[in-house]
């Protein structure tokens, strides 16, 4: 027990170096459950911890110490690889300075931290469920990070950690770094030669994908001369000289207020440093320039044409005893308004984008026609049949109104009567209404190949059906109590109906409404869906549970040869464990929000089986934009300031015009 305790704490320290700095402390609990999910998500692993880890996962009490001892005992290469990746993830900051919030860097950070937000696992396939995934995490419900995700997270895909402290192992002699890694003191001998100074680099380089990197240094104490240099340099620059005096080294010096660009000859730039001064250093990776600030005032561009081929590290150097500085890598509020600086960069990019012509994107379509085509094809592709019709009618009305001036004949819009689109929409509606049997039956009738060839989708449908049965059972049990799951169910549905009263020119689709009502509210009819009984034949709680058990066992038989599905299945079956699943830690599984992703997946599979692209052009547009933005942002250009998801969901992303 003693030994294991020692191991535990040392492992803690190794895997979570940020703890001591106090700047980016991880929640061990969250990490523990993530880790446990990795382990349990590996299909090829020896089932080392079927009792231990699994139990902890459900209880969400697995923590790093457990993992440490596990991996120590088992020497499983897959395990230690995953552990390596994880330890790299754990070095990443849990939060970024506010000026980086919209940057590509923080987007990648989020992707690395919460892979489930983008992953293909059962629960999180719905991309709109980021919040749900987070809820799951908070509840310790086992945030999914299965083997697929781990393999996606190759080292190259991980963002680099941000600088958090001075690097104890990357300093010259004569320098003392405080325990928290933020204070630097010069201790060195009094009689140093002209060129002998001492410098230190930060623990990580400044990532270009930040777009702008900025840090501040407080002069806590200066010698009479104030020989302190603040700046940045490449990782291989000698540290026995002040920043700026060597090739690949840039600095602003406090004794004379001069800046030094890879040379011993300085240029007058700003004030000399005084005790209590706060000196900031910022690098703009779009312009490849650097600037310094003094007590919140921007002193202007100091360096231009900073070469991009080497990674650059924040660095400080000093020369006289008694000199003492403290760095702010973003753990505290900055003195200079760097948020405003970055916002200006972002607005600059936005206004450039605003004036971008789109004629070359998809000739001969000009902007308005391109948007119409994108929307129309998306509606058709994703099976929004009624909307597609209404949209076509709206456009036709617009066109005929315009033509009234010409007096020419109006061309009637041909409505696309695409049988497949209709069927896909019917199947989608069935799933959205929770009527999985109907969806399965329709799919079987019209697209028999789809379920055979897409085991994963078949499995997800079956899981969903189990969940729907569980919902019914829970609602039955709760009796008069209204349905509980945290879903935008009834309330917002009503809002949907209010629309219809306004929309005079459309026929209200009563069938669909009935469907909603039935599955959401009316118990007996809902049960009817599952058991092919008449509505007048009420089902008792025990009958329902028997049905559930039978269905669960059937699923286990059908998928027992699929190790990769076991975890998801167990997750769903964990609903069994609670007397009232609606208020259990896994209640999120029951949310009707889970229907849409299943419907999307089936729709895509049907489209692929019909030889159509599984992606609508609008979706391609988003995909391409995402890839291009990332690639551009890695180079540190304006694209690093744009976060597509925030862009789409923001309400104030436009410059005030």
């Amino acid at each position: 027990m003693m030994t294991s305790n020692i191991t535990d704490s040392s492992i803690m320290a190794t895997y979570n170096p940020a703890v001591s700095s106090g700047t980016s402390t991880l929640l061990p609990r969250a990490q523990g459950s993530t880790w446990a999910s990795i382990v349990s998500g590996q299909p090829s692993r020896p089932r080392i911890a079927s009792t231990g880890l699994r139990g902890q996962r459900n209880g969400s009490s697995a923590n790093l110490s457990d993992l440490g001892s596990q991996s120590g005992r088992f020497h499983n290469p897959a395990l230690s690889n995953a552990l390596n990746t994880l330890s790299k993830i754990s070095q990443l900051p849990t939060s970024v300075p506010s000026y980086l919030e919209d940057s590509l860097y923080s987007e990648r950070l989020l992707a690395a931290r919460c892979p489930s937000a983008n992953s293909a696992s059962l629960l999180s396939r719905n991309p709109s469920m980021t919040s749900l995934a987070l809820v799951a995490q908070a509840r310790g419900g086992g945030l999914k990070l299965d083997i697929k995700d781990t393999s996606l997270l190759q080292e190259d895909d991980l963002p680099t950690p941000l600088p958090t402290r001075w690097n104890e192992n990357d300093k010259s002699g004569g320098i003392d770094i405080s325990q928290d890694g933020l204070d630097v003191r010069f201790l060195g001998p009094n009689k140093v030669t002209e060129y002998d100074s001492a410098a230190v680099r930060a623990d990580h380089h400044m990532p270009r994908s930040c777009g702008v990197y900025y840090y501040e240094v407080t002069i806590i104490n200066k010698s009479r001369e104030g020989l302190i240099g603040i700046g940045f340099c490449a990782g291989d620059v000698l540290l026995n000289r002040l920043p700026g005096w060597e090739p690949y080294s840039w600095g602003y010096h406090g004794d004379d207020g001069k800046i030094f660009c890879c040379t011993g000859v300085g240029k007058p730039y700003g004030p000399q440093f005084d005790t209590k001064d706060i000196i900031g250093c910022g690098i703009n990776f779009r312009t490849n320039t650097a600037f310094f600030t003094c007590n919140g005032r921007n002193l202007g561009d100091a360096f231009r044409d900073i070469p991009m081929e080497k990674k650059l590290y924040a660095a400080v150097g000093m020369k006289k005893p008694g000199e003492h500085i403290r760095v702010n890598f973003g753990q505290e509020r900055f003195c200079f308004d760097i948020d405003g600086y970055v916002k200006d960069e972002r607005l600059r990019a936005y206004s450039e984008i605003e004036s971008m012509p789109v004629d070359d994107l998809c000739p001969p379509l000009e902007e308005a026609a391109l948007m119409q085509s994108l929307v129309a094809s998306y509606l058709q592709h994703d099976g929004f049949v009624e909307t597609a019709k209404a949209f076509a009618q709206d456009l036709q009305a617009e066109q005929s109104a315009l033509n009234s001036g010409r007096g020419g004949p109006t061309n009637p819009v041909e409505l696309m009567e695409d049988q497949d689109a209709q069927r896909r929409q019917t199947i989608r509606t069935a799933i959205l209404n929770g009527d999985i049997d109907n969806a399965l039956e329709l799919t079987q009738t019209h697209y028999p190949q789809v379920l055979l060839r897409n085991e994963q989708i078949n499995f997800r449908l079956r899981c969903r059906k189990f969940i729907e049965m569980m919902r019914q059972s829970a609602e039955l049990m709760n009796g008069s109590r209204k349905k509980a799951p945290p879903a935008p169910g009834s309330g917002s549905k009503n809002k949907g109906r209010t629309f219809e009263t306004y929309a005079e020119d459309e026929d209200v689709d009563m069938d669909e409404d009935d469907g909603e009502t039935r599955s959401d509210c009316d118990m007996e009819n809902g049960v009817d869906n599952y058991n092919n009984r008449t509505a007048a034949d009420p089902l008792s709680q025990s009958d329902m549970l028997a049905k559930l058990l039978e269905y669960g066992q059937q699923m286990q038989r059908d998928f027992k040869d699929k190790p990769e599905l076991q975890d998801e299945m167990e997750e769903v079956f964990s609903l069994w464990a609670y007397p009232d699943p609606m208020v259990s830690p896994v209640a999120h599984l029951l949310s009707i929000d889970g229907r849409a992703p299943v419907a999307e997946a089936l729709n895509s599979a049907i489209l692929v089986s019909l030889g159509k692209s599984s992606r609508a052009p609008l979706e391609r547009l988003v995909q391409q934009t995402t890839v291009l933005l990332r690639e551009l942002g890695e180079e540190g250009g304006s694209a690093a300031f744009i976060n597509l998801h925030n862009w789409i969901n923001s309400v104030e992303y436009l410059p005030a015009s």
Partner: protein, 245 residues
């Protein structure tokens, strides 16, 4: 770790590898639906917006009545019934045309164009058009220099037979003129309601064009090697085109 290392790699990704990178992105469905819903709302397609809320099972915070009003105003303009449109605008947002002088002038000029069009069809009685120009437009002409120019150009329509108009004049008679003014009115109403006057889709399309142009002009060989990524819209364009437009 990422950018520098990868840009130094000797081999650049092949076009198919780029396609795969694109395929590996999983756009959020809710983001997609947000984009479409926003487009339908901003563009003023009330019935499509209502259907979409139903079919996509999303519940936007939207005032459908306002969309309908906006839609009716734009439809009136599309039909050339500018008088009704102005009345509806004044009814809906009384101060809008007071504060948007240029927009008001654009509407009145369009009304003049419609009167001229009517006079051409009604065998040349140009009196209503002349009276309207004199009473409604001429007093406003001094407000901005371009008003007078626009008014003069519009009045020139009266001097030519409709089938012999020079291209700039013919443009005034084109239905696109109505569309343009309707779009301006649409934007003004939206801004007035403190709604972003521009569809996010429009920004997205421009963003897409921008990133491609940026990559093509980049100093990085890797970025310049990115092939033109097709939207998959063109092959189906014929069928879409006929049904949409």
């Amino acid at each position: 770790m990422t950018s520098i290392a990868s840009s130094q790699q000797p081999s650049l990704p092949s076009p198919s590898e780029w396609e795969k990178k694109v395929d590996d992105i999983r756009p959020s469905k809710s983001d997609m639906n947000t984009l479409v819903m926003n487009y339908l709302i901003i563009g003023g397609y009330p019935s499509a917006a209502a259907k979409f809320a139903q079919e996509a099972n999303i519940h936007p915070q939207l005032n459908l009545e306002a969309i309908h009003k906006r839609n009716r105003i734009c439809t009136s303009i599309h039909e050339g019934d500018i008088q009704s449109a102005i009345e509806m605008i004044n009814d809906f947002q009384p101060e809008l045309l007071q504060t948007h002088r240029r927009l008001h002038f654009a509407l009145l000029r369009l009304q003049l164009i419609e009167l001229i069009r009517a006079s051409m069809e009604a065998n040349g009685d140009i009196q209503p058009a002349l009276t309207f120009a004199e009473k409604q437009l001429a007093p406003r002409a001094p407000e901005y220099p371009e008003f007078l120019r626009d008014l003069e150009r519009t009045m020139a329509l009266l001097c030519f037979p409709p089938d012999q108009l020079s291209p700039p004049l013919a443009k005034l008679m084109d239905p696109d003129m109505r569309k343009e003014v309707a779009a301006q009115v649409n934007e003004a109403i939206l801004s007035h309601q403190s709604v972003l006057p521009e569809a996010k889709l429009r920004s997205l399309v421009r963003l897409r064009a921008w990133v491609e142009a940026k990559a093509a002009k980049s100093e990085s060989e890797r970025l310049r090697s990115i092939p033109h990524l097709d939207l998959g819209l063109v092959p189906s364009k014929a069928e879409n085109g006929s049904s949409v437009i």
